[in-house]
Amino acid sequence: MFKLKSPSIKKPSKKQLISFGQAFITYVLLTCLAYIIIYPVFARLMYSFMTSADLNDDTVFLFTKNFTLENWATAWQLMNYGISFLKTAFLVLSYTVLQTAAVTFIAYGLARFRFPGRSLLFVISIITLIIPPQILSIPLYFQFQNLSILGLNTGMNLLNTPIPNALLCITGLGLKSGLLIFLMRQYFTSFPKELDEAAAIDGAGPFKTFFLVALPSARTMLVTIFLFSLVWQWTDRFYVSVFEPTSKYLQMMVTQVYGMVKVATQASGNVDVVAQSLINNSALLLFILPMVIVFLFGQRYFIEGVERSGIVG
């Protein structure tokens, strides 16, 4: 009788086969799903290097035959990217800082102190998520157009200034503030009460405890909230278009580029629709690129933050 296998090679056990099969299926499934997300982004990136000749050429698939950076250059120029970027970055960063600070402060109050109306305030913060911003935007528009404090008409028009949005951010009612308050509150609730007591014994008041004990230990969570806020503020157009309709921030520019491209190309006698959409595509990429970079560097915080927030506990 022949021995089919040499005894030195061990036949894989059934258990090993199953776990190998499981790993294989996991990889295949995840890769397929990841492809759906990655492909459009990758395709857009590849198209940004193409000319319209490439797109009308059936033999070209993703990889250009006439490499060009002109789409990027035109989009950059039309959006006045250098200055627009700095302006937008400054604005968005200020909103983000204000929002993060306000949300942290409010969430700490809601999580750590017992006072009448506490749960009502928490419920309200959740309700703000359900109310469509359209409802509030109209009265707020009028309110800021003709600012009156407690019935006293000041005659100030705050529209087309960053103040309305900043006020909303400070008071914890900015874009998606409710969600951020929720995350932060969950974190502070699970935070051990003993630390407070220890700080109190050492003679620290509640504010000292907040700044010297709670904040440093909530570092990761703070970064998470900051990054979420940053990304959402960056891609928000609704609040900007309501309160600052004539502003030239990137989130406004990116949708206006299409019109600008049309005007610019028609002036030069070129009415190639494909070429126009290519420039548009590059403008979009230029707009989102900073956030992708932020995300790649901060991805740890995005992911850990939700895990740590105690949304689970």
Partner: protein
């Protein structure tokens, strides 16, 4: 004053005071930027604003609400939003749960996959969602000329499947369904980022001792899933379902949200816009409340924390 003093100790009073200081900005915000606008918005929705600069409201009762119910566009957009939410919410919840299950195990490249699945949180929020959806729709509705088809290529993975379907003998009904499904799967995936994270965190917090105990009892993986995994993540399931429903309804890129905005700020019919927004909000509120009431009962609470 005396009553309050008797009811609470000095310590408690001090705690209350500090608490109020912390939430003071929020209280101010609620009064000026939430309660007041809500009151105004309700007032506006029951009338028409007379002059653009002032606040002269001509009271018209429920006219705008009844008009909204007879507005063909509004009803169409509303039913589209309802349909979209009804179809996509279960899909998003299930898909994100499956992905979280797959990502739970340790394997090489796990971090990279997690990054990819979270990427849509950036790529599909706010103005990005608008633009991505816009170009996609334009390319599907209007592929009249060759150059437009080429422009449609920019919308992503659509091109390959479209070409494949055009060259095959499949009837247009079926091929349009396939295109819809293909478009939808990317919609589902691009709105699953946060849900995946919540599920992932929940799955990882399940104590391994539960599975060890059930292995000793001889339970199969299938039984484990239904008797341990699912009950243990049911609180997060509730959060995820409600979050998804709200997220879908209030997505700025939905037609109804856009039309409400346009009626207000483009057509300057603020009364009509407000009434439509309130009606929509009421519908969302009722649906969320019903879902919460139903799901709350199925949530399993594990006493020993």
């Amino acid at each position: 004053m005396k009553g309050i003093k008797n009811k609470y100790t000095k310590m408690q009073l001090r705690e209350m005071k500090t608490g109020y200081i912390f939430v003071l900005p929020f209280i101010i915000g609620i009064v000026f930027f939430l309660a007041l606008p809500i009151f105004d918005s309700l007032r506006i929705s029951f009338g028409d604003i007379n002059t653009f600069n002032g606040y002269d409201i001509v009271f018209k009762g429920f006219t705008h609400y009844f008009d909204a119910l007879e507005d063909v566009d509004y009803i169409k957009y509303l039913s589209e939003a309802l349909k979209d939410t009804a179809i996509n919410t279960p899909l998003i919840v299930v898909v994100s749960f499956v992905i979280a299950m797959l990502l739970k195990k340790e394997f090489v490249g796990r971090t990279a996959y997690r990054i990819v699945f979270f990427l849509p949180v950036i790529l599909s929020s706010g103005v990005m969602a608008d633009i991505m959806v816009d170009t996609l729709i334009q390319s599907i509705i209007d592929p009249t000329t060759a150059s437009d088809m080429a422009a449609g290529v920019l919308s992503g993975g659509q091109e390959f499947v479209t070409k494949l379907l055009l060259s095959s003998d499949i009837s247009t009904d079926i091929s349009s369904f396939i295109l819809y499904a293909q478009e939808n799967i990317s919609v589902v995936l691009s709105h699953s980022g946060i849900q995946i994270l919540i599920f992932l965190a929940a799955l990882q917090s399940i104590s391994p001792s539960l599975y060890e105990a059930s292995a000793i009892e001889g339970a199969t993986a299938w039984e484990n899933f239904w008797k341990i995994t699912l009950p243990m993540v049911s609180p997060q399931l509730l959060v995820v379902v409600l979050f998804t429903v709200i997220d879908r309804f209030t997505d700025m890129s939905t037609k109804i949200m856009k039309s409400i905005y346009d009626i207000g700020f483009v057509d300057l019919q603020f009364g009509r816009s407000s009434a439509q927004a309130w009606l929509y909000c009421a519908i969302i509120g009722v649906i969320v409340a019903i879902l919460y009431a139903i799901l709350k009962r199925t949530v399993f609470t594990y006493e020993e924390r």
